[in-house]
């Protein structure tokens, strides 16, 4: 795994034109998380319906290509999902980036498998998981 392979086309695309990037004034939940490695910061905002479905989700902040692409892909995956499914995905992704670089890639990750390269670069894991941490913090209601 070379550093170049980390930057899959999908990651570069989502960095360049992220989905659901911007404010969400009607948000019911939000959380802001810092990346201690670099001082980067991401805010994730959600509209959660009474039945615990995530109706809308958006992120804002500053960060590297990995953290922005991860935030963008995260929003596309959890919008419309029940909270339980979103936190389960966050947990699965967190475990995935900590796995050995040559471990099989689980199907349930879908496009998030583009982050497979991060498994070889421990210092960049926190970039990939930043938005998921903010998501989990937000749904737990701990601002």
């Amino acid at each position: 795994m070379t550093p170049d392979e980390l930057y899959q086309a999908l990651i570069v695309e989502h960095d360049r034109a992220p989905h659901n990037c911007g404010p969400l004034p009607e948000a019911t939940h939000s959380a802001t998380i810092d990346n201690p490695l670099c001082g980067d910061v991401v805010t994730v905002r959600l509209v959660v319906l009474p039945d615990d479905t995530i109706a809308r989700v958006a992120f804002e902040g500053r960060g590297c290509a990995l953290s922005r692409a991860a935030a963008s892909l995260m929003t596309t995956r959890v919008a419309g999902q029940p909270i339980a499914a979103a936190t389960a995905l966050a947990d699965r992704f967190e475990r995935f980036v900590a796995e050995p670089a040559d471990a099989p890639i689980p199907d349930e990750l879908g496009e998030l498998a583009a982050f497979r390269g991060v498994r070889a670069f421990r210092s960049r894991r926190s970039c990939a998981t930043l938005a998921f941490h903010a998501l989990v913090t937000a749904v737990r209601g701990r601002e």
Binding site: D4, G39, A65
Partner: protein, 394 residues
């Protein structure tokens, strides 16, 4: 590349191993410099020749460690023109700052006093003073820096007790005029603390000529091992300071209810000393004294040209050692990861100095820094790596 540089590089084993299949261009010496074989061997030899616990026993191995530690302290002290008794061995610059903030600060700083730090300080020369001021009800004043990165020391308030500045900025590569600052600080009745971590490998340091009151530095930024550094202080200051940490090795006598402490520097060195580290520190001091640094300014200038040529924006006006920069709107971590793939080691992030990044309106930067083994071939490799970064994010 000159034959001299090639020979010098062979002294650094870490330079021999390729990174991601490329020749290593190590441009992160400001974070930690590589160790020459002589230092590595000295540290390893310490485990064989001076394996005892120093200052605690009379048997042969303890004696060997005691002598080795004393000798090492003398070599390091002489390296900065100081007396050995005025040099406290610490775990590094960070511990040295904390030592002064606690041992000197708690006894000398009180409500209504002022401590001055500059805007460009590394967190380790900022947070201990923040904590001291909060604890003692003192005010923390900030000396701003200009657009070039020079410290603008304001008129000092009447009750200013201490001014703390970096000799060389770890982000901007600017050199603070220590002797000039010392004169101003002393005229106001305050003391000058200097964080020399980034300076010792690049500038001649003579504490008497600098005229400061405290000087802190780390071995691992001057070709020595990590985990050891030093605090130099004017003798009468150390004499008047109480210990900051207590325990074994720093006492003359102990009863169940009280203890008497040794003279400096031992009073400030509680616990079993890092003898191998001290021996490596001394060997690094010898290496540094002998090494030819005349090429560094040329390599530094080439670095500035290459980064500018690649479209980078340099932060401040660097004078030595480091060049921090941004490249379009590409995040520094992405720059450093792609550069790593090209065999180029760069630092990325805020380099433990967030406030100065804020001052220059950026969240983070990429930083290239040089040492005695750096050459223009490293700079050329960096230029190619930055072109590759541009390709990935075009």
């Amino acid at each position: 590349m000159t034959a001299d540089l090639a020979a010098r590089r062979r002294e650094f084993p870490a330079l021999a191993a390729p990174v991601h299949g490329r020749r290593l261009a190590y441009l992160d010496s400001a974070a930690t410099s590589l160790m020459p074989r002589a230092v590595i061997d000295a540290v390893a030899r310490a485990a064989v020749q001076a394996p005892g616990s120093p200052n605690r026993g009379v048997h042969a191995l303890a004696e060997a460690a005691t002598v080795a530690l004393d000798d090492a302290r003398a070599v390091v002290a002489h390296g900065i023109g100081a007396r050995p008794r005025d040099l406290v061995l610490t775990s590094g610059t960070t511990a040295a700052v904390n030592l002064v903030a606690q041992a000197w600060g708690r006894a000398n700083v009180t409500t209504g006093d002022t401590i001055v730090v500059s805007e460009l300080e590394h967190h380790s020369n900022l947070i201990p003073w923040q904590e001291l001021c909060a604890e003692r009800g003192a005010r923390l004043a900030v000396a701003p820096v200009d657009d070039a990165g020079r410290i603008q020391l304001p008129a000092l308030a009447a009750r200013t007790k201490l001014v703390a500045v970096a000799h060389v900025s770890n982000v901007l590569g600017t050199i603070a005029p220590i002797a000039e600052l010392a004169a101003r600080v002393h005229a106001a009745g305050a003391l000058l603390f200097v964080d020399g971590a980034q300076a010792v490998a690049h500038l001649p340091v003579d504490v008497a000529a600098l005229g400061c009151d405290f000087y802190a530095f780390s071995a691992h930024k001057m070709y020595g091992p990590p985990g050891i550094g030093a605090l130099w202080a004017r003798g009468e200051l150390l004499d008047a300071m109480a210990p900051w940490q207590t325990g074994g090795g720093m006492v003359t006598s102990v009863a169940l209810s009280s203890a008497q402490f040794r003279e400096p520097p031992h009073r400030f060195e509680a616990g079993t000393p890092n003898t191998p580290g001290a021996i490596g520190f001394a060997e690094a001091t010898r290496f540094l004294a002998a090494v030819d640094r005349s090429d560094e300014s040329r390599v530094h200038a080439a670095l500035i040209d290459a980064i500018t040529g690649a479209g980078g924006t340099i932060i401040g006006r660097p004078e030595c050692a480091v060049v921090s920069f941004t490249l379009a709107d590409i995040h520094p971590h992405d720059i450093a990861t792609i550069a790593d793939g090209e065999g180029v080691a760069l630092r990325s992030g805020h380099h433990c100095a967030q406030p100065i990044h804020t001052r220059f309106g950026v969240a983070a930067s990429a930083r290239a820094s040089i040492a005695c083994y750096s050459g223009t071939d490293d700079v050329e490799q960096l230029a190619r790596a930055l072109a590759r970064v541009r390709e990935v994010f075009r």
